[in-house]
């Protein structure tokens, strides 16, 4: 809510990102190394397995961080996909206006009426097992709201004098959209993008949890949680550690996004 909370959350996101990149080097254990002398060991400082190990003796600390890294990567890349499609589509619809705009936004409306999550599930079941496809199908779902936001912004920017001036100097549509519209819609877009990242991480881990997303030997927080649920009676840490990490990550991203949105709203008022 408050700025202090958002800043704190931002720091936490930073720490998690840092851990996800650098963490695996802090610990001597490898992601896929099997430590048969410490199978299903509970978390502790001795033995070097800080988060404990799973039933195959793999170190949970390294695996959790690796999973966080994969989740973050997919979150960022898929958000980039939604940004590319959403900005392009929204800016074109908003700037050209008229019948084109009407048709394009009608398309967005129809698409958002479809149960897209089921299509993502179907696509990943049917053609899945590839992280690249995961980016594309998740990104293809996420761009709708982005396009709406960009179009709304474009509509108001279009009326401003500098666009008129650009038209008067003879700039083409493509140039105006790329040089004058897009840089000016970036603010709200960035805010919405910070809220898109956790949504996409959630979707990715949801798919991975169902066994449809990231596949072994790669790990994602979703697959780790799915494994943890299976063993939660005998080895609850297998669930608590990755589950807690995912919850914390999503929470912090949401708080940062909300804080940014509030800050931007206050400016506009």
């Amino acid at each position: 809510m408050s700025n202090r909370g958002s800043v704190l959350a931002l720091c936490a996101v930073g720490c998690i990102v840092f851990l996800a990149i650098g963490g695996p080097f802090l610990n001597p254990n490898r992601v896929d190394a099997l430590d048969w002398s410490h199978v299903a060991m509970s978390p502790g400082l001795n033995g070097g397995h800080w988060f404990g190990t799973d039933r195959l003796g793999r170190d949970l600390f390294v695996r959790t961080l690796q999973g966080t890294g994969v989740s973050l990567l997919i979150g960022l890349f898929a958000t980039a996909v939604t940004l590319l499609i959403g900005i392009g589509y929204g800016a074109v619809a908003g700037f050209i206006g008229g019948r084109t705009d009407h048709l394009m936004m009608r398309g967005v409306e129809i698409l958002s009426g479809l149960p897209l999550i089921f299509f993502v599930i179907l696509v990943s079941v049917i053609f899945g097992r590839s992280v690249f496809l995961l980016f594309v199908s998740i990104g293809a779902v996420g761009w709708l709201t982005m396009a709406r936001i960009v179009r709304g912004q474009t509509l108001s920017i279009r009326q401003r004098e500098f666009i008129e001036a650009a038209i008067a100097t003879g700039a083409g549509t493509r140039r105006i959209i790329a040089r004058h519209i897009v840089p000016n819609v970036i603010g709200p877009v960035i805010v919405y993008a910070t809220l898109t990242v956790p949504q996409i991480i959630l979707l990715e881990s949801f798919l991975s949890f169902l066994g449809l997303g990231v596949q072994e030997p790669r790990v994602s927080l979703g697959t780790l949680i799915a494994d943890g649920v299976g063993d939660m009676e005998s080895a609850p840490w297998l669930l608590i550690m990755p589950g807690g990490f995912l919850a914390l990550l999503l929470l912090c991203f949401n708080i940062v996004g909300d804080g940014l949105r509030d800050a931007l709203d206050a400016q506009r008022r």
């Binding site: 149960p115 089921f118 696509v123 669930l239 949401n254």
Partner: protein, 308 residues
């Protein structure tokens, strides 16, 4: 009013048609078929099976047949659950899934709206902040983390409730799944109600109501609440979608025999008709939710005219 309804229902038909067509060709484009098994069957038997289900025909003939059967209300036989029709399978699981989802939705509304009103009225106090911080947690933490954590605490540690499993008619088994499904929409509804309420409290008619000397309680519940709920009404269709997706994992974690597992299992098994049936049922539910939202809008805000 009735004309509007009919128009909207007619408008939903093309959407449903697009969904059916897309899904039909999408599942058939997948590698593999419904009769692939670990031990592969002799090719003659596979050919016989395919002929029996009409799968040896060209795709567009299958498509036409499927649509014709669908118009007669027939979802076809399941390819994987032998001797079951898709209608039968869905009819078996749907009541439980609908109960879960319906109770979750009702709880989310019944608790979320008062929570949002409370947070709006105390928006500058610690209690208001605390409510909204809880809401962020509810929105952010996914159901497949919440349910196992609840299971750990209330099932394994405290032994109050079963972690998973199902006995017909048992309420105990439904408590944790329902709580899990309720949390995200509850949090969203609280947040939207708060936002709507804060805005409405600034408006002229609320000031007038206060100026007339009405008690705060009357102003809030009789005057301010209805317009403040507009954003909540808009959220209801996405909420239905949220609960549906949630039920996919919740039912599988809690081991409840609803329809949630059929979509993923059906797609994995290439059980074409089952996947189609599930997508159609879910889409129809979503579209109806959208229709309900439009009607609600008109009731909440007289300025929204249905005729258009």
């Amino acid at each position: 009013m009735i004309r509007y309804l009919l128009k909207r229902i007619a408008g939903a038909v093309p959407t449903l048609f697009i969904i059916i067509t897309l899904t039909f060709f999408l599942v058939r484009a997948a590698p593999g078929g419904p009769f692939d098994q670990e031990q592969s069957l002799p090719p003659e038997i596979v050919a016989n099976l395919q002929a029996a289900y009409g799968l040896d025909q060209p795709a567009w003939i299958q498509y036409r047949r499927y649509l014709t059967a669908l118009l007669h209300g027939d979802f076809g036989p399941s390819y994987k659950y032998k001797d079951f029709t898709v209608t039968g399978l869905i009819a078996q699981g749907l009541p439980l899934s609908l109960t879960l989802g319906g109770v979750a939705m009702a709880l989310a509304l019944a608790l979320g709206i008062p929570a949002g009103v409370f947070a709006a009225l105390h928006h500058d106090s610690a209690a208001g902040y605390a409510t909204m911080s809880l809401a962020v947690v509810g929105i952010a933490v996914p159901s497949f983390v919440v349910l196992p954590f609840l299971g750990l605490i209330f099932g394994i540690d405290l032994h109050w409730l079963p972690v998973a499993g199902w006995e017909p008619g048992s309420v105990k088994h439904l408590v944790l799944p329902v709580i899990t499904l309720t949390l995200p929409p509850l949090a969203y509804i609280a947040r939207l109600t708060r936002g709507g309420m804060l805005e409405v409290m600034q408006s002229h008619f609320v000031r007038t109501a206060f100026a007339k000397g009405l008690p705060t309680r009357t102003v809030i519940w009789r005057h301010a609440l209805r317009p403040a709920l507009l954003p909540v009404a808009g959220y209801l269709a996405p909420a239905v979608a949220t609960i549906m997706t949630g039920s996919l994992v919740v039912e599988s974690i809690a081991g409840l025999p609803g329809v949630g597992r059929y979509l993923v299992q059906g797609a994995l098994n290439r059980d074409y008709t089952l996947v189609m049936g599930m997508v159609i049922v879910y889409s129809a539910l979503l579209i109806s939710a959208g229709l309900l939202v439009d009607l609600l809008y008109a009731w909440l805000d007289p300025r929204v005219r249905l005729a258009h």
